[in-house]
Symmetry: C2
Subunit: 396 residues, 2 copies
Amino acid sequence: MDLNIYKNLERNVEGIFVNVHPIQRGGVLTPEARKALLEFGDGYSVCDYCFESRVDLVQKPPVRNLVQDIVEFLNMDDVRFTAGCRHAKWAAMHMACEPGDSIVVDSLAHYTSYLAAEANRLKVFEVPHSGYPDFTIDPQRYAAKFEEVEKKTGSLPTMAVLTHVDYRYGNVADAAGVGKICKEYGVPFLLNTAYSSGIMPVDGKRLGVDFLCGSGHKSWAASAPIGILATTYEWSQQIFDKSSIRGEWSGRGFTKKEVALFGCSPVFGAPLVTLMASFPSVVERVKHWDEEVEKARYLARQLERIEGFHLMGVRPTQHTLMNFETLPLHEVAEDHKKRGYFLYHELKKRKIMGLHPGMSKNFKINTYGLSQPQVEYVARAFIDIAEENNIPIEEE
Amino acid sequence: MDLNIYKNLERNVEGIFVNVHPIQRGGVLTPEARKALLEFGDGYSVCDYCFESRVDLVQKPPVRNLVQDIVEFLNMDDVRFTAGCRHAKWAAMHMACEPGDSIVVDSLAHYTSYLAAEANRLKVFEVPHSGYPDFTIDPQRYAAKFEEVEKKTGSLPTMAVLTHVDYRYGNVADAAGVGKICKEYGVPFLLNTAYSSGIMPVDGKRLGVDFLCGSGHKSWAASAPIGILATTYEWSQQIFDKSSIRGEWSGRGFTKKEVALFGCSPVFGAPLVTLMASFPSVVERVKHWDEEVEKARYLARQLERIEGFHLMGVRPTQHTLMNFETLPLHEVAEDHKKRGYFLYHELKKRKIMGLHPGMSKNFKINTYGLSQPQVEYVARAFIDIAEENNIPIEEE
């Protein structure tokens, strides 16, 4: 056992000018969160003054206030923190569905939506997307799928899941449209906002959402893992149902503890405190979402000057997470000694990190929170790399 | 929404000389972890170089090595990280048991053991403890309970759960004894080491453990939430079974993702990196467990000089987490203007924090990692408080 490898752990990102990692931009800590991290790093730091057996009820630091403020921020009725958005989805399904039930999921869903269903022994039916190059989800297809499920299984699905912004193309789905159809059919509606709430405005009630799941480390400038599970008055009691187990010999019971959160959600250290410290900035930043989208569109326009570079998904992009098809890079890679890794290395030389190594036919990139000069720098880097490899560039 | 309350978050522990919080001592970060925390605070910091879709396979930082080193450290065959020990217990039960199965749990178990069973729809049978004042668990009672379950339900339990060190009295259970009985009956054995592995030596194979669950934020000097789920070759494939779900329309599959970990355990920020940075210290500190127990015994001897103070649980204590019965304090509290809170305030005046406020009939206290002068300071504080309230003190 060589314990020296665990000493002086570094991210090796020193001198990096820009991180464009598709899943990291919304989880970069604010300066306030970074300060709180040091203050509350220890294991159970949030539990110094826990008197009511659950972290959501702690008053110092003000977790109880935070719960209420997030309720207001998302326009839902009740909120809990979970160990990641994946746990939030599992918890909602666990409490709202029975094993063997069917649910309907959009076919762009994150793997954790499928896995949450699998761990709850649910049957998953998929709503098709429109395919290349837009990959959109038509809300009407939810209605069609509900009827198909009813025909096949004898009853409507127990839940509909929509990925508000998918991680593959950054498309912003028509959540209100799906919410409306869910209401019509009486199917409870779970919206996965891992790439929306915390960076763009999300109004749960307006979208007709019953279960709103979010990700602190993806989009609320928090340290992993922390998820958000918000619901309505109609569902709150069932979703956050208390333990009813009784010790067969001892008679012990745990009537304050919530079953689907394993009693008390174990986010009581860095994750919760960073989310809390970042919350004022998050409330502010969602108001500036349009500016973020503008920067992303600028990058898309610049990259599409490179011959063969195409933005996939909805055009113009409505999100800062984008997927570009880049077949000319693939041709370059085929003759390059670094093969598919050449792009990654060319960017690294230019102090840009976050692209998945080994990719060249297409790549994902996220501009969220970058300054306009940083975005211009990234655009210039790609154009330089293209020029160096004799890929034609269109004039501006 | 008053966002100012989230600014300048502080633990309000400044100037505190000693924290004796029963659940916090083993989770205090090492200086190395504190440094790593700043480096890796951002949401998904551990995923910079993730190329194989799961955090346990990341090589930079060296997570993959850490998995193997923890395997060796605990003497098990395979390890995964989870979002807390509670999730580790849920995961083991989820993969080893079927809904409706019966399991046997010691009656000193933490609530999260009961809740893990409840969320898996398992029936829980309890092994009685010996009652006041020792509260011990006799391994033979596991055999009796197994037979009772078989008689009542027609089959042996699917799992036996033992709390290695219970959180109520800090008793160190006879895990090897229970392990032997589990082997005899062929009942899989889950050992909850939340208060043992990471602070005292634990050898899974020697104890006959099939599923070893641990807590990073309780006992491995890590930030919450991180748990450890270790198992044997016999069980590894079943417990860490991969997803087999298939997209009904898309054909998508996620064959690298592990079902009970919701695909990839979301500990990929502060929790995992602090556990990693602290690991060399943890490997070293378990070798000095005897010295830690000595300090606890010193405190117990001093506190028992106060008339009516009695250490509950096994005597002399075998752990640093202790529970004292203190009826004379209760009598003082009845006439005190601060009632049950007076002890808490008296200690706070003396810069000692961590006792549950409002308690006076008994309290829990943990000396783990305190220096001998700190322990002496705490002992002196209690003796002073007793003297000030006219509770007789025995001469040394």
